[in-house]
């Protein structure tokens, strides 16, 4: 059982995790609640552990560390909604972890070791599917994704920045390591892409929009893993790297909104651009990155994935990915900032807390990296682990033009539908509707019937068991005092009385003594001689 494994794949992920944790910690420097920092470190540590794990058992241990750390990052927001959300999150991730555990234990029984290596897609056994299921929960594959939009918006201002980067990307890493080429992932990934953006178009809470977007973007990566060619897998790695940076930046931006204005609900925000202009700018950097605008790192990563899909002749997958790209720009690229910063007339009345400098610094670090990677793609490409037949060059005229066309006309679409797309304060039902239903059902089962059975059992125990024991005890006491003591004491007293009687023979008269001595001696002699 090897503990750790360091190779190009794990190193590239570890690198981006390290960068992100630095940016996140800088962003969170103003937080005085030590527990948040501790839990963030636990969480990041778990992610590192997972990245470097060479066997399933180590992976599982660090998987759970991540789960614990992230749960606390939600709970430490310390309001009723976040407490409940954190609880649901934790239960859900525990179930996901259990899937993983079942899978790896079954695999151990079948294979005999815990080594964590790639599975041949054609020969996947039940335990491989269980492990895959566990990974997919963390990767927020539809339909097991609903925890993400449920919990991430409720995290702390700084906690969500951490969370958006690590859980899902660790899942992507392990999927890359273990399950590349599994067809189901290709399909699932594409579904995720589209599903995420569709919900993002209708959501109201900014961080929820971003959460659905995580689903969508991870879908690109999962699809890339599923397709399984070197280019798509490299695309997935590159996309993960870029995604961590720009998604972190997006959450940092909305985190600033939350910190300053106290809410991220788009229907309540608006007209704030002149008061927090730099937040807007840094946010837009990320927004354009995520959309795939040339000059930013989304351009160099997303297009690689799509091109890879097309070159693998998965036409429909490529089309869906392009649709998702459209939706991304519309929702995150335009809708969110428009309704957060513009939309309404200049809002000078809303109370805005001053934003600490470290938050700006963190965001600036992220933005710089986004732009740098966009301008100089080799900065990212040199770390890509998989060997491709031919290098991918994003900065070609066609690629730039295509992206600009796509994005430009998506923008036009937004312009035309800007009244329809106005967010309203509503909750959109998602798969978590079913989760809550199941949860409530289990709770009812335990609290009513099982509790009743337990009460009956306790009652029976008290009456029959305890009562029986006390009766037995009384019986033994009676036996002891009446039975045993009588025999023992009786025999002792009897012996003593016999002794008293015998002592009476000693009369004190010498004639008695002599007579007795002679008589007894003769009797004994006679008896012995007669019988011996």
């Amino acid at each position: 059982m090897q503990f750790g494994r360091v190779d190009k794949l794990s190193l590239v992920f570890a690198q981006v995790f390290a960068v992100m944790s630095l940016i996140g910690m800088v962003y969170a420097m103003h937080v005085e609640d030590k527990l948040q920092h501790i839990m963030a470190c636990v969480y990041v540590g778990g992610a590192f552990g997972c990245t470097f794990a060479a066997d399933f058992l180590t992976l599982f241990i660090f998987w759970e560390f991540m789960s614990i750390g992230s749960t606390f990052l939600i709970w430490l927001a310390r309001n009723p909604i976040s407490t409940k959300a954190g609880f649901r999150y934790f239960m859900y991730h525990t179930i996901g972890g259990l899937f993983l555990l079942i899978g790896l234990l079954l695999r151990y029984k079948a294979v005999g070791n815990f080594s964590f290596d790639a599975v041949a897609p054609a020969q996947m056994m039940t335990y491989d599917w269980m492990i895959l299921l566990g990974f997919c929960v963390n990767a927020a594959v539809v339909p097991m994704h609903a925890w993400l939009p449920d919990a991430y918006p409720e995290g702390t201002v700084t906690g969500s920045v951490f969370m958006c980067a690590f859980t899902t990307k660790t899942a992507v890493y392990v999927l890359l390591r273990g399950f590349h080429g599994v067809e189901a992932l290709a399909i699932a990934g594409t579904v995720m892409c589209v599903y995420g953006v569709l919900y993002a178009c209708i959501e109201n809470n900014a961080r929820r929009i971003l959460s659905y977007h995580i689903v969508s973007q991870v879908g690109y990566m999962v699809a890339g893993i599923g397709i399984g060619t070197a280019m798509t897998m490299n695309g997935a790695v590159a996309h993960a790297y870029a995604h961590i940076l720009y998604k972190g930046l997006l959450f940092m931006g909305t985190g600033c909104l939350l910190y300053a204005a106290g809410t991220t609900k788009l229907d309540k925000l608006g007209g704030l651009v002149h008061r927090i202009p730099w937040v807007m700018v840094l946010y837009m950097v990320a927004a354009l990155s995520i959309s795939g605008m040339p000059l930013f790192n989304g351009f160099i990563s997303k297009t690689m994935t799509i091109t890879g899909a097309a070159e693998a002749h998965r036409t429909w997958l490529a089309i869906c990915m392009e649709i998702a790209a459209v939706g991304t720009f519309v929702s995150v690229g335009i809708k969110l900032p428009y309704f957060a910063f513009w939309a309404k007339p200049a809002n000078d009345t809303m109370e805005l807390k001053p934003i600490p400098v470290n938050m700006y610094v963190g965001m600036a670090m992220g933005a710089v990296l986004c732009i740098a990677q966009g301008l100089y793609p080799d900065m990212l490409y040199r770390y890509l682990p998989f060997e491709m037949e031919h290098a991918y060059h994003p900065w070609t005229a066609w690629h730039v033009l295509q992206s600009l066309l796509l994005l430009g006309f998506s923008g036009l679409a937004f312009y035309l539908t800007r009244d329809i797309i106005t967010p309203h304060a509503k909750t959109n039902l998602d798969f978590d509707f079913f989760y809550r239903l199941i949860g409530r059902g289990v709770l009812a089962l335990v609290s009513k019937p099982l509790a009743w059975i337990d009460d009956r059992w306790t009652e029976a125990y008290r009456v029959a068991g305890l009562g029986g024991l006390l009766t037995l005890a009384r019986g033994t006491v009676w036996f002891d005092t009446k039975g045993i003591d009588t025999v023992v004491d009786g025999s002792a007293y009897t012996v003593q009385n016999v002794g008293v009687l015998s002592a009476k023979v000693q009369t004190g008269r010498i004639q008695d003594y002599l007579g007795l001595a002679a008589t007894l001696a003769l009797c004994v002699f006679a008896v012995v001689w007669y019988f011996a």
């Binding site: 909604i81 409940k84 953006v197 569709l198 178009c201 209708i202 109201n204 651009v273 002149h274 008061r275 202009p277 730099w278 807007m280 700018v281 091109t307 097309a310 036409t315 490529a318 089309i319 392009e322 649709i323 459209v326 939706g327 720009f329 519309v330 513009w342 200049a346 005229a397 066609w398 033009l401 295509q402 600009l404 066309l405 796509l406 994005l407 430009g408 006309f409 998506s410 923008g411 036009l412 679409a413 937004f414 035309l416 539908t417 329809i420 797309i421 309203h424 304060a425 509503k426 909750t427 959109n428 039902l429 998602d430 809550r436 409530r440």
Partner: protein, 86 residues
């Protein structure tokens, strides 16, 4: 309000101008597409100039209209739907 904020407010005042510039840009892109073509055709329609523009526009419109007008009325509930029940 910072200097940058004032700049942005100014820009906001001139949104009409920005809108015109935007449409000009879009037209320019379509025009460029006539000349710059992909060296490999990924789809059948890739060959056509302006395909991706149309794709983006139609896709965006479809997405927004379908989601906001058809899907959301079906699946949306009150803002505190879950808090009420749980």
């Amino acid at each position: 309000m910072s200097l940058f904020g004032m700049l942005l407010s100014e820009l906001r005042a001139r949104r009409g101008v920005i809108g015109v510039l935007f449409f000009l840009g879009l037209a320019g892109l379509v025009g460029a597409n006539v000349f710059i073509r992909p060296h490999e055709v990924e789809f059948v329609y890739d060959a056509y100039a302006g395909f991706w523009g149309v794709f983006g526009l139609v896709g965006g419109l479809a997405m927004v209209i379908v989601m906001k007008k058809i899907v959301q009325p079906m699946i949306s509930r009150g803002d505190d739907y879950y808090e009420r029940n749980s």
